[in-house]
Amino acid sequence: MSLLLDTVSYNYPGSTHGLHEVSLDVRTGELVAVIGPSGSGKSTLLKLVSGLETGHTGRIALDGEDMSRTPVHRRHIGMVFQSYALFPHLSVLDNVAYGLKLRKVATAERRQRAQALLDTVGLGEYAQRAVAQLSGGQQQRVALARALAIDPRALLLDEPLSALDASVRGHLRDQIRAIQQRFGATTLLVTHDQEEALAMADRVAMLKDGRLLQIATPREIYEQPASRAVAEFVGLSTILPAKVAGLNKLDLGFAQLAAPTGMRAPGTALHVLVRPEHIAADPAPGTPNRIAGRCGAQRYLGALTRYDFEVPGAPKPFLAESARPATEAIAIAPEHLRLLDH
């Protein structure tokens, strides 16, 4: 099952919010994470795919079959909600079996299948419990089992971990990913947590103001963001305005740096991106791209310390990470200066 969105646009009545010509595809068994700030349209995207929201232009197709006119209850798309949305009047087992009951699967068989799914998510012995007796993480696993029970053509995860404690989140993230891969479910994950997206997804799609800015593998989107908006949202970084001063030369105003400028003409205005882990602390004198300054605020994180490095004349400090903060200078290898044209 593959999912295809082809120039999908949607406008909320009486507002400019919505989606603008979003095209993306999710290949069979692939997990694509959709990230973006709130109001970026990522939830709208999910609602349109599920059919809970209708009235878009463009095509939403499952395996080539246009879904636009199919009502939500006939799409066979499993969905996991941020708020779990388990049915409080049904037992855990009956929650998982609910979709099968609607499909008129015989009682014995649907109980057996629901039980098997509960075993898969590690909640086999909770089958007869009431939903309210389960913790948040357990409830979300039941919700996942319930969505998978209908053998969905695609799986939609709407901020599935956002309501959970940080201690549960990491573990459940891995578990959801493992189960998704085991079932080969074609999956669209919506999250505002870029770390979650990078950790779970095969590919990450970044939305902003209803537009798709970039869709790429986690590595690519982190290391080669297509624009400033993507770079600002994904991962930590320092982004500074700069001007091309000549071939492989960059003028930041307060410093001249060597960087791969490629074919850009001298005088071109752009932005330069530096990831904190690429900033070397206290390099030997004579190291290329050495910048002198002083250490500002520090946050001790265990293996690393994240710190601000203040350079006289710079519009903002560099955000850096290392085992020991720099005291008098930093250096950034030229290949780690990422140039952003827009």
Binding site: V72, H73, H89
Partner: protein, 258 residues
């Protein structure tokens, strides 16, 4: 301080009931603080009085009918209002919830007296009209109870989840919404039954001699012996609580059997 106030308030609430109970078994009660003598005579008299027995049955019929009608009307109404309000048309919801406060019941009764006292619709004094009046009078209370619960439970999320699992609109309503509303339906119906059984104003204006409800007949008891009046009022108290219990147990049974 707070405890003192609640104690005083509880006394204020319970004292009349206690006095009624005492009076209903008291032999003679005139110009004294408490009645003298102990007797069950007033209850026997009450039982032998056919007009009270008939009124008792009438009240039960009216209350249970109002409960049945309101169950059929209020569930879809509350559901429609809930979804309508989310789409922005909350005026209807506000009208329904404000009606019992804004419009005195007596207005309804006078309206009925004018409309149903004509040759075209000569139904004033009939049982169905009385039941209809009680149903309309109590409908907003039940609708409001259901609406509050619908909003509180956030049922739209559960409906969305059911929809993605393959439930049609009707299946969402019958399989998810209805079972979730069981508790508030019960409590709403208890309220409907209690209001209907105790309702005097509208009933007094709309009933004929043949189907007077209990509170209407009860008024007459106070022209006679105090003990008799007390006993008759105690019976109303029992009737109100009993009908509430009955309607709740009925709903429970219906909800359990699929």
């Amino acid at each position: 301080m707070v405890r003192g106030i609640s104690l005083l308030y509880g006394l204020y609430l319970l004292l009349p009931i206690a006095l009624l109970l005492v009076g209903s078994v008291g032999g003679n009660w005139t110009n004294t603080l408490l009645p003298t003598g102990l007797t069950g005579q007033w209850y026997v008299d009450l039982w032998l009085d056919t007009s009270f027995r008939k009124a008792f049955v009438s009240s039960l019929v009216v209350a249970l009918s109002a409960c049945a009608i309101n169950t059929v009307l209020a569930l879809p109404l509350a559901y429609a209002l809930y979804h309508g309000a989310r789409r922005g048309g909350s005026l209807a919801a506000r009208i329904v919830s404000a009606t019992p406060v804004a419009v005195p019941a007596i207005t309804l009764a006078f309206g009925y007296m004018i409309v149903f006292n004509t040759d075209l619709a000569p139904w004033l004094g009939s049982m169905p009209l009385l039941i209809a009046a009680h149903a309309i009078l109590t409908l907003p209370y039940l609708t409001n109870t259901l609406l509050t619960d619908l909003r509180h439970l956030g049922l739209d999320r559960l409906e969305q989840a059911a929809a993605t699992l393959g439930a049609s609109g009707w299946q969402q309503f019958s399989g998810i919404v209805l079972p979730s509303l069981r508790q508030s339906l019960i409590s709403g119906l208890v309220m409907v039954a209690a209001i209907s059984v105790g309702e005097f104003g509208v009933s007094n204006l709309l009933t004929s001699f043949q189907n007077r409800t209990y509170p209407v007949v009860l008024l007459q008891a106070f022209y006679g012996a105090t003990g008799f009046a007390c006993a008759a009022t105690v019976i109303l108290l029992v009737l109100a609580s009993a009908s509430a219990l009955l309607s709740s147990s009925l709903v429970k049974q219906r909800a359990v059997t699929p």
